[in-house]
Amino acid sequence: MLQAIGVASLDELVRVPAALTLRSPLAVTPQLSESEIADRFAQFAARTTAGGYTSFLGAGAYRHYIPPVVGALAMRGEFLTAYTPYQAEVSQGYLQATYEWQSYIALLTGLDVANASVYDGATALAEAVIMAVNASGRKAVLVSRAVHPNYRAVLRTYAEGLELTVDELPYRADGRTETASLDAALADQRYAALVVQTPNIFGVIDPLTSADSARAAANGTVVIGVVAEALSLAALSTPASWGARICVGEAQSFGNAVAYGGPHVGFIAAGNEHLRRMPGRLVGKSVDAEGRIAYVLTLQAREQHIRREKATSNICTNQAHCALCATIYLAAMGKTGLRDCAALNLARTRELRDAVTAVDGFSARFAAPVFNEVAIRVPGRASDVLRALEDRAILGGLDLGRFYPELVDTLLMTATELTTSADIARLAGALAEVETRAAARI
């Protein structure tokens, strides 16, 4: 091969100016055989002990049952090792699956269209805000404080670059977003978007009222609904039904592992009026020269590789494979499986709430109905309770004090269809011990 190219050696082929040659050896891993790699990663796994705990963690990443059929199909090499389907003729399968994903998201949210997915829930929110800013020309957004704190943090990061103002709406004593001051806030018509999340970070089902949505629309403010737990869409009134015109969120719950935070899969759905401002890829249905049904990436002119600095977003990749896992999951579960799953989440969380609040000193922090997580007020500091539970091999939930200084005594506890009655009984038993100890200290 070197001879064909006309060079004497590999070194000659890859030569760089003398100043750029390596001066010291690279400090990277040793080279291992595959069996040694398996052994090395078994050590990493052994040092990762969370699996030995009974977990009540959620807050934007949820452990759900994933039927084996999801992995068996998604890991087929044609899907796993495909490139972005720019060559549509040899990507019909993936394109059709993505069209099906878009359809599922549109049906679940009740909105007109959905894109081929974005990085995750938080970036989906940031992109949706950009859509609203571009639609209105306004440079401020109004966000409920009950939106996931990580999502708000990402929005703030993006806002820094885009030079947007992010104002917040407080939450009420019952855990829902306070909208009493909304009228006045919307009236001066400076907000591009109004953002609420349902279920919100406290697990509370928190849609806007249709009247508030209408008020926002009348003032030229786009209502953005955030759904960090996509499974809730199978049970709760659709975001479209209460007035969201853009709905974004996280679909990890559909057939994707929590995987220490990623990859997950964000979605963006919207009313038709926002179609041309939607970021990322879109698959459309068309025909080929012989009139056969054919799928193809469409409306690409909006995208970065054509519009460059004038693109709707810089986003290039989508979470195609995670969206594929979600699509297979949704197909396998069907409406019956999804309804059952959502109902089981509701029932187990009710059971969790009842068991925990039956323990002296523990109470529900908010009264409004919840989906699959519940905020629990604890005696003393939530962080102390968590540590005491960890000693009993329980991950008791998220310390909301990490994000809300006024909630240092509040834990967010999550139950899914995988949470058993035995798990809940163990938690309640441990909390009773913790409570006794806390009381004894006083």
Partner: protein
């Protein structure tokens, strides 16, 4: 195997009530659990038996090319083999099912994976530190530009708002710049297809924030005057940004840090063998020079010795015996870019790949990538135009301009004709500065036999087109569908299925 002739209706057009699978126990009625006004009316989704689901998606897979089935000489995309051991390691239950809010003490192994990877990348690319936070390449560009913006703001140089981007750059570069409020200044490459330091000096100035480049550039050419280019930018007080899309060309052989780059990103799904998965998920670590470390997004993985003192490491170091923690408090950090810490499953894959290669293997990887690309170039140089006929790196550009002039057959047609021969098409019409461009990147994982067969197929297609242009113009002919009416798709967007009964409404 030829693609199946059978049609695949949409999943929504199959299934019927009563075909639900039994994955979970039956749940109670929703109305018994929630006030009626909170419950959605209907859930208009199909119930399909598992067999029907399996057959549906298996048939779809048959209508999809992947590296596992065909060779992808796709320029700029680094479609190398994806070793299965990587997926197996990412799928270890302890790592796969680890919740992002698990306490650090229960996540030590996962944190060790992140830290070892971050340290190895720092050594490989000559950076002080990496953040694994960004979700993809374009996301990493955005992160890096936010870092630059914060850095200049802190130095009282917030007026710097111009990003210089050579005309060979990827389209995401200018789009990312616009998202942080920077103005883009496009720089024309010289006759050698490279950035001319003198031309750069003429435009770099007190308003310059960042110069974004890739090396080798998108023509596959090594920017051999990169040292002078960096000097020009640094003299202007600005930062050099390395777009790591082409890192497979030089990994381990020469380092962006040594070229004078202050910021960079990597596409782990290209260089580090993570499956593309049909367009994502990707992963885009951001690396920085020492002065920019405080601005990296949070969380940062901190490492400590057994005695609690911070663990020092120039590059990779065995993490055994160290303790790790996620730090969310860095005061100058640009914030956080995503819901949770990183695309962790991909970090596992990338680290497994580094272990599989070691330093020697990674160095050889990029050398063989360069060898394979040059071998294809000389193999087709007499049948298409090679606008920059010199030693290229991991990819090169060819042009179908003469062929088009003589026969009407365009780069696009050659790409489509290759599909019929069982090859993915090269990248066409990019970079924008070469007319009728075909950009070819074979990667190091292809054998000489595969390259020879591809060269032969390519030559046959061109030879046939010169005799009968129709042989290429109507391609592909053997694929499940032929060329698609993209105008119709864009003029009457049909982006989702609707139930037939509501279609009239």
């Amino acid at each position: 195997m030829p693609p199946p002739a059978f049609d695949t209706p949409l999943i929504f057009e199959c299934g019927q009530d009563g075909r639900a699978n039994c994955y979970l126990p039956r749940g109670p009625q929703l109305e018994t659990l929630l006030p009626g006004d909170l419950v959605r009316d209907e859930l208009p989704l199909p119930d399909n038996s598992e067999l029907d689901v399996v057959r549906h998606f298996t048939r779809l897979s048959h209508k999809t090319f992947g590296i596992d089935t065909v060779f992808y000489p796709l320029g700029s995309c680094t479609m190398k083999y994806n070793p299965r051991i990587n997926d197996a390691m990412a799928n270890l239950p302890a790592l796969r099912d680890l919740h992002p809010f698990a306490p650090d003490h229960a996540a030590q192994g996962a944190l060790a994976v992140m830290w070892e990877l971050e340290r190895a990348l720092a050594s490989l690319f000559g950076m002080a530190a990496f953040s694994l936070n960004p979700a993809a390449g374009a996301h990493a560009e955005l992160t890096a530009l936010l870092i630059a913006k914060a850095y200049f703001a802190k130095r009282g140089e917030a007026h710097r708002n111009v990003v210089i981007v050579p005309d060979t750059a990827h389209g995401t570069n200018p789009a990312s710049a616009a998202m942080v409020g920077f103005r883009v200044l496009s720089l024309k490459s010289d006759a050698r297809g490279r950035v001319d330091p003198a031309a750069l000096a003429a435009v770099a100035g007190p308003d310059t924030a960042v110069c974004m480049m890739t090396n080798p550039n998108t023509l596959g050419l090594f920017e051999d005057r990169i040292g002078e280019v960096s000097d020009v930018i640094h003299r202007a007080g600005a930062l050099m940004y390395y777009d790591g899309a082409n890192a497979n060309a030089l990994m381990g052989n020469t380092r962006p840090g040594d070229m004078g780059f202050d910021l960079m990103h990597l596409n782990l799904h290209k260089t580090f063998s993570i499956p593309h998965g049909g367009g994502g998920a990707g992963a885009g670590p951001v690396g920085v020079a020492p002065a920019l470390v405080p601005y990296l997004p949070v969380p940062v993985v901190r490492a400590y010795e057994a005695d609690g003192s911070p663990a020092a490491a120039d590059g990779w170091r065995d993490s055994t015996g160290l303790r790790f923690a996620l730090d969310f408090t860095a005061p100058d950090a640009v914030g956080t870019m995503r819901s949770f810490w990183s695309n962790f499953a991909h970090m596992v894959r990338a680290l497994a790949y580094i272990y599989a290669n070691g330093a020697e293997g990674l160095i050889l990887t990029s050398q063989l990538a360069v060898l394979n690309a040059n071998y294809i170039r000389v193999g087709i140089a007499d049948v298409v135009d090679i606008p920059y006929p010199e030693i290229n790196r991991h990819e090169f550009v060819a042009s179908a301009q003469s062929l088009k002039r003589d026969t009407g057959v365009r780069a696009l047609d050659l790409g489509k004709a290759l599909l019929d021969r069982g090859y993915h098409a090269p990248t066409v019409y990019f970079p924008l500065i070469v007319p009728e461009c075909l950009m070819i990147e074979p990667t190091e994982t292809e054998s000489k036999e595969t390259l020879d067969a591809f060269i032969a197929a390519f030559r046959e297609i061109v030879a046939a087109a010169r005799i009968d242009p129709e042989s290429a113009l109507g391609t592909p002919r053997t694929t499940p569908v032929g060329r698609i009416d993209e105008t119709r798709a864009a003029r009457q967007p049909d982006l989702r299925w609707r139930a037939p009964s509501t279609e009239s409404g």
